[in-house]
Amino acid sequence: MAKVMVLVGTKKGAFIAESDEARKDWSLRGPFCNTWPIHHVIADPATGAIHGAGGNEWFGPAIWTSKDLGETWTHSSQGLAYEAGKEPVSAAWSVAPRDGELYVGVQPAGLFRSADGGASFEHVEGLQQHPTRPEWNAGGAGLILHSIVFDPKDPQKIWIGISSAGVFFTQDGGKTWEPRNKGTRADFFPEDQRYPEFGQCVHNMVRAAGSDRLYQQNHCGMYRSDDGGESWQSIEEGLPSDFGFPAGAHPRDPETLYLIPLNGAEKGRFVPDGKAAVWRTRDGGRTWADLRNGLPQENAFFGVLRQAMATDRMEPAGVYFGTGTGTLYGSADEGESWFEIAQHLPTISSVETYVID
């Protein structure tokens, strides 16, 4: 029987929720990583290791690694650093596995690679050398590299998202990069400068399963790209706002995407009207349905952060999200109905899944 794990990063440590393939009864373990702020927790299916990306005000950045599903952990920041004199790396914000390697996004924004399972890291320097680098501005959480998207066919191609520098793309393994923001808005710039080459505040970017399609939730709108980010089309019509943080791609259907629109950037960043809903499209963003069954429909004043939603690969797919107020919600039926997996956790930064057959 499959084991379904939900990996949770919080302001005070990592947690692991576990269930079987029914995803009805859940248990919770944690906090792990010595209660450090952990911004992202993932599992590498190639190695079975769990990795947490974080940073502590006292001790700096580190990638935490567990090779026994969370029982014991080690940490390392060897090589996870800029050269002397530069603003030091303060935290690791995202970690993404590919073919036995780990890619790590950090603050201030940069990309690192580990070929030894998180024991040591090397800087993917090309990104820092981009001519726009001196003009990148920090978003509300700092200048962070949060989204790392691979091309399943071509290992040289990587898309990254930086708040608030925008989306950048490499097709030579990270040596050279180009902005990929055409069609995405920056409403926080003067009226005649709202479609710049870079500087957009991308909040989260995901790849549609089995497809070249990308989706992104931006500070200013929701978007789809069918050409590798060369151009983006707004898919926000039919949603209650243009603002939100996470985006969750269905594990098999490229037309299905989950978003959690919030009431607005300057209005508290709550679920709209105090009523929680996950919004789902089944047609690539042309139409949307609100999914509320089991979610609080009065006096709900929480937000959901950029990496705090994920799907699992079960049939039907599970969908999970964690709130700023520390509640972890799940659905075992593609969002039709929801249940609480855990509550009273620290502020949830990230949610990912790991299924072991």
Partner: protein, 97 residues
Amino acid sequence: MEIGHNSGDHPVVARLQGVMVDLFPGSTRRVEMSARTVAEMIDELDRRWPGMGDRIRDTRPAIRKHMNVFVEGERAKLDTEIPRGAEVFILTAISGG
């Protein structure tokens, strides 16, 4: 203060907090060594427990903003000299929420 005979030509003692020792299995809260400056002390700690240096100093390089190193009761910098026989306290600052 008693310092063992294996502490080299400039014996000093590093005093670590439990929160640091917890990060490095096998490390101890009292560490005897030879070191003439805070930087040398951090290098020696890192040699014994790889990675510990990163937890105390950043890559500017400087002692991390929310870490405090005290030599003879004064907040020290990396180049602060440590008197022979001194105890050096490596502490987390008040921080967090």
